[in-house]
Subunit: 207 residues, 2 copies
Amino acid sequence: MSGIRAQQKEKTRRQLIDAALGQLSSERSFSSLSLREVAKEAGLAPTSFYRHFSDMNELGLTLVDEAGLTLRQLMRQARQRIEKGGSVIQISVVTFMEFIESNGNIFRLLLRERSGTSAAFRAAVNREVRYFTLELCDYLQQANKLNADVAFLQADAAVTIVFSAGSDALDVDKDDRQQIALRTIQQLRFIARGAAEFSNRGLKSKT
Amino acid sequence: MSGIRAQQKEKTRRQLIDAALGQLSSERSFSSLSLREVAKEAGLAPTSFYRHFSDMNELGLTLVDEAGLTLRQLMRQARQRIEKGGSVIQISVVTFMEFIESNGNIFRLLLRERSGTSAAFRAAVNREVRYFTLELCDYLQQANKLNADVAFLQADAAVTIVFSAGSDALDVDKDDRQQIALRTIQQLRFIARGAAEFSNRGLKSKT
DNA sequence: TAAAATAGTGTACACGTGTACACTGAAAAT
DNA sequence: ATTTTCAGTGTACACGTGTACACTATTTTA
């Protein structure tokens, strides 16, 4: 009843996922991993791989889901910290930088597959990023009482800036990362300030 | 003296470059190309490849240079148009979108190799993008009389936003691209507005 | 308790890869 | 006119790949 068999299966499935994630690095992308490599790293015979995923593509999409999950943990943590007070922008950026530092491989996966060669991957990553953006959009609309259109534009721009900064921060030492964080905070302030101005005056329609 | 030999060599070298560029697409990245494929597409025996490049890596870096060249043409064209008057931001974005449309593969190359697995590639792409950013920074400083630090932050943010928009615009139809252009223009206005405000007041140092 | 299901193994195969090597023929140098 | 250089060819090899297939051992079902 406990399903000692299903339990074991789930365990080796995890081993495959972890093996794949573990092989990612700045010089190794998911698409450069082979089924055999991943199976070997997980301590499995190559053909056993098929008991869990029909091909590497399917494993990859699972990894993207996994990454989405991590992204939501990140959001939750940022929200918690913000509730305790302080600069929203600064807290968000610092939290994101911590995420990059301890989840480099996961972030790399998102970053690369977003412009990768598989339409399914691109769609999956964009779905996660969109979720992230809409969360932020809601927050901006509510907290800053912004026009809905303006809030979306701001959220979208902010996410773009932050992800790009994350990319820059991936392979850099702590000092440089700090530098990048400061730059990013200031850029987000530009955007916030501009959005606030336009929200008051209204987006221009012509001319 | 005319170098009928060197002339022919240059010609087949171009064939290799064009063959590689031509094989790029939304579902085909440079790293997924094989030496044999490129040679075949160029109408060459696989081993002849080595008469021109020591390996695919070297060809790839050549392509990045090529892409940088195209990027500068883009800047030149934008500048020319701006001189004739009109909204700087709008002209820039429209020009960039045209670039995406007619040079999709080149832009894809930059986009992907910027977060790719080769440090040399990443460095080469970042070099080109930095050049692009500094050009814009100069312009902003001069035309808008901005504080140097603020101008850099604005230029960097603007380039990030525009490149990201380019990525979004790669595989969509004309209507969607128009939509993306409008969004991008508005976001750049946010940034410009925010930068102008902060340039007047000065960036805050503490608190 | 007997039968069925199934996670994992090992062997085997065809395929595409990078590249070493010996070669050819025409351009360039002597 | 003779020799040298060298862009391009064709053959050959070892290697890693995905995956089909027949198998084993153990859990689950009947």
